[in-house]
C-alpha cells in the first residue's frame, strides 16, 4: 500500500512573527521557513510503516510556491520516496488544499493519507477532515497511536477527556497529534540522496481544481499586549497581592 503524506511550508516555530505594518498579513520576507511540525510527525509515521513492511512507497505532497520543493526535499531526506508539488503562488485555504490532495489521491490511489492535525501558521485544523469528507473515507484525527491490520486502522485519539480508541476502515485519512512519534533527523548522506529523488510538479488547473479562497482576510492585527507585572519576593507577599489586589483567592 502506498502512503501519501502532506507537508506544509510554514514560518519556523521558533520565529517570533511580526504583523505587517499595513495589516494585510504577517511578515514572511527573510523569515526562516520549515516543515510544519505536525507534518514531520506524519512523515515519520509513514516511514515507520514502510520500515515495518506495511507501506510500499511513501509520497510527500505539498502545495504552494516553488519553495515548497525544499519542504518536500526535507521529507525525502527523512526517507520518503518521491514528491508531488502542486505549484501555485495563489493563496491556498484548507478546502482548496483538501481538493488538491483529493485530485492527487485519485491519481496515486494510496491506501492511507497522513497529515498533521494543524498547521502552526493559520491554526485551522481542517485539511485532513475535509479530505476524508471529499473522498468519502474514514478519519482518524489527533492520532496518538496508529495500528494497521487487516484492512482497518486502530487509532488512539487525543480527546478532551483523555484518550479514545476507534477502529476505522481503510482507506483512511489520519491526522497526527504530538505524541504519535518523535520525528527523525535527516542524516547528511540521506540529504544528499534526497537531491536525486523525483518531485513531480503539477498545476491546480491541470488537476481541474478551483482553488479560489472562500474566506477574505480583511485585516491582520497584533493581539492586545499583556503588560508584564511585578516580581514579588516572598510567598506571603504573593498571597497578599492575590487576595487584596487581584481579589482572586
Amino acid at each position: 500500500m502506498k502512503v501519501l503524506v502532506a507537508v506544509k511550508r510554514v514560518i519556523d516555530y521558533n520565529v517570533k512573527i511580526r504583523v505587517k505594518a499595513d495589516n494585510t498579513g504577517v511578515e514572511t520576507a527573510n523569515v526562516k521557513m520549515s516543515m510544519n511540525p505536525f507534518d514531520e510527525i506524519a512523515v515519520e509515521e509513514a516511514l515507520r510503516m514502510k520500515e515495518k513492511g506495511l507501506a510500499t512507497e511513501v509520497i510527500a505532497f505539498s502545495a504552494g510556491p516553488v519553495q515548497c520543493q525544499e519542504t518536500i526535499r526535507t521529507a525525502l531526506a527523512m526517507g520518503a520516496d518521491r514528491g508531488v508539488l502542486v505549484q501555485t503562488d495563489a493563496e491556498l485555504q484548507p478546502l482548496a488544499v483538501a481538493k488538491l490532495l483529493k485530485a492527487v489521491v485519485d491519481k496515486e490511489q494510496p491506501g492511507l493519507v497522513i497529515v498533521g492535525k494543524q498547521a502552526i501558521d493559520d491554526d485551522s485544523n481542517q485539511t485532513g477532515q475535509m479530505l476524508a469528507a471529499l473522498l468519502g473515507w474514514s478519519q482518524g484525527t489527533f492520532a496518538n497511536k496508529l495500528n494497521i491490520a487487516d484492512g482497518s486502522a486502530e487509532v488512539k485519539r487525543e480527546v478532551d477527556g483523555g484518550l479514545e480508541n476507534i477502529k476505522i476502515k481503510l482507506p483512511a485519512v489520519i491526522t497526527t497529534d504530538l505524541r504519535l512519534n518523535e520525528p527523525r533527523y535527516a542524516s547528511l548522506p540521506n540529504i544528499m540522496k534526497a537531491k536525486k529523488k523525483p518531485i513531480e510538479v503539477l498545476a491546480p488547473d491541470a488537476l481541474g481544481v478551483d482553488i479560489a479562497p472562500r474566506l477574505k482576510t480583511l485585516k491582520v492585527e497584533e493581539p492586545p499586549k499583556r503588560k508584564a507585572g511585578i516580581k514579588v519576593k516572598t510567598v506571603a507577599e504573593l498571597f497578599e497581592k492575590l487576595r487584596n489586589e487581584a481579589g482572586v483567592i
Partner: protein, 311 residues
Amino acid sequence: MAVLVVAAHDGKTVRANVANAVTAATQMDTDVHVLVAGSGADEAAKSAAALQGVAKVLHAEDAAYANWLAEDIAPLVVRLAPAYSHVVMAADSVGKNVAPRVAALLDVAQVSEAIQVVSPDTFVRPIYAGNAMATVQSADKIKIVTIRPTNFKAAATGGSAAVEKTDAAAAAGLSTFVGAELSKSERPELTSAKIVVSGGRGLASGENFKMLETLADKLGAGLGASRAAVDAGYVPNDYQVGQTGKVVAPDLYIAIGISGAIQHLAGMKDSKTIVAINKDEEAPIFQVADYGIVGDLFQIVPELTAAVEKK
C-alpha cells in the same frame, strides 16, 4: 435564517461549552436551534432546551451517534444545514473533528476558533498561536464556524425551548468506537475552572505533580500542564494547555516551572490574573505574569499551599 448549534453531550447534559456556543450563535442571528444527536439522549436534549436564547432543539436518535464519530454525525448535519445560515460548534475535540467534515461535504469554508463575531459574515480568529488576529469574511451561503468557548459568555439556563424529533441519517459504517481511556478527576474541568494550577518541565517528574494536586485541591482549581510536561509523561495529554492543546482563561492561572514558550502562552494569556513561579528570572513567562516569584518551586509551592490553607 436561523443558526444551528451542534451540541456535544454525555447523554445526560450538553457540554458546558454549548452554552458559550449558543451565545456566539445569538450574535449571528436571533433564531438559534440546537442539534442533539445521540443514543438515549433525551435528557441531553432537555438540557439544551433549557439554555436561554435557544428557540428549538432538534433531537436525532441513533446508536451510531453514541460516540460522536464524525463519519456518522456529519451526514445528519449536512442534511439539516441548508435550512440554516450558520452551523456553529465549540472548538473542542468534537467540534474540531466534525465541523470540517461537514464544511467539505457542503463545499464551504470553515472559520476555525472564532473569538469574536463582528457581523454575521465576519469573524475574528487567532492565527500563529494567537500572535496575530485575523478578521475574516465568509462569502459562503452556509457558514461553518467553530468558536473558542472562553471568548463567549455562557448562555444562562431557565429557557424552555421545544424539543422536536428529527430522523437520523443513514449510518456511514466506516468507523467504530472501541473504548475510551479518560482521565478520572474530581477537580474542575480545565477549560471552565475559575483557577488553574499548571506545571511544566520544572516539576522534573510525574511524582512531583502531586504537590500541584494538593495546591489545586486547596484552591478548588483545575490542573493543567505545558507540552513539555505531557511529552515527558508526567501527566496525561488532556492536561495540555497551549496552541494545540486546550485554551483556558480562568480568573487565576498559576504557572509553575513553566518557561512560557509562545505555544504555551497561546493557551493561557487571556487569563485574568497570571502568576509565574520559576527559578529562571529570564523565563518568558514573567513577561505575561501579573505576579512573578523567582525561586525554587519545591520551596515556594508548599509555602503557598500552607498560606492558602490558613486563609
